[in-house]
């Protein structure tokens, strides 16, 4: 089995460099054959694309998509400086 460390590095690079994702802020953790993706994105389509790219970069491993959607809320309270 490939060293998890290098799998994580490869998936992370793929997410950053693949034109479908270009996501730099996704955390990739590999434990044995399990790959965990964590972070935040702004729409469901992007969340799915990240999972697809990760699967391609880690064939045969089990990818857990734990990425959350950032719900952009209306502006809240203001801060007085």
């Amino acid at each position: 089995m490939e060293t998890p460390h290098y799998v994580a590095a490869r998936v992370q690079r793929a997410l950053a460099e693949d034109e479908r994702t270009t996501e730099l802020g996704i955390r990739v953790d590999v434990r044995g054959e399990q790959v965990y993706l964590r972070g935040q994105v702004s729409c469901d389509e992007r969340r799915h694309q990240i999972e697809n790219v990760a699967r391609e970069a880690a064939p045969g491993l089990h990818v857990h998509n734990e990425i959350t959607l950032v719900e952009v809320r209306e502006p809240g309270e203001e801060e007085h400086l």
Partner: protein, 242 residues
């Protein structure tokens, strides 16, 4: 002098798939703020098509919009074209320079640009060794020098630095420390502290935190969308009535 209400956001990362979404969230912004500052990473891939989406979403607002680019906006080597598209749409884009935005007789000065990395005092890269390392550090140094000059030349009642990269570690809390040198540089803070400013706005650190302060005491706010989780945040700069 009246109070100034500064709306700020960064890392909106727009593309065709989000067309119209962000605009909906900022309708009515003129009732909450006097100016909108956008701290870079306007697009995902830095394509001209994405730049046009950004221009559509941010143009025609009743308040002035000032923006800088982020690293994503450089990815396709069309950064200059994106700047042109935004400027054609009436958006003020700062590329290591300053601009004065008049707001009801108050002159708001904004200086800045994309910024760059290098790390923070004591744990930073230095201009030594391979040409690649020197070029990396010199890029930030040159930027900081241009910002210092731009701040000095600003004739304004209030001054704000608008950047993509962070000037301090405070607002990176939550990011892995190993990547801090790619998230910002103390040289950006040093430039601001040398000339003085009321506020330092940045983005880029999606997993960071909102609030920090420079060594010289300038308030720093990381307004990356995933950090503030709102369409924008409003900061009020004290007027006499506040």
């Amino acid at each position: 002098m009246r109070e100034l209400r500064i709306a700020a956001v960064a890392d909106i990362h727009l593309g065709e798939d989000l067309r119209g979404h962000y605009r909906k969230k900022i309708e009515g912004i003129e009732r909450r703020a006097d100016v909108l500052l956008v701290g870079g990473d306007l697009t995902r891939h830095g394509t001209i098509a994405e730049g046009r989406v950004v221009a559509e979403e941010l143009s025609g607002l009743p308040i002035p919009v000032v923006a800088v680019l982020g690293n994503h906006d450089y990815h396709s080597d069309h950064n200059q074209e994106i700047v042109d598209v935004l400027r054609d749409a009436g958006i003020t884009v700062l590329d290591d320079e300053g601009a004065v935005v008049p707001v009801d007789g108050v002159r708001l000065g904004v200086a800045g640009g994309k910024g760059f990395g290098g790390g923070f005092a004591g744990k930073c890269a230095s201009e030594f060794g391979e040409p690649e390392t020197k070029a990396f550090v010199r890029h930030t140094k040159d930027i900081a020098e241009r910002w210092r000059r731009a701040l000095k030349e600003l004739d304004a009642d209030h001054k704000i630095v608008l950047s993509h990269y962070s000037p301090v570690k405070d607002t990176l809390m939550g990011e892995p420390p190993e990547i801090y040198p790619f998230l910002g540089s103390y040289m950006l803070a040093e430039a601001a502290d040398a000339e003085g400013a009321d506020l330092f706005i940045h983005g880029h650190a999606h997993a960071g935190t909102e609030k920090g302060v420079t060594p010289g005491g300038i308030r720093v706010r990381n307004v990356a969308l995933p950090v503030i989780k709102h369409a924008y945040t409003v900061y009020c700069l004290n007027g006499d009535d506040c």
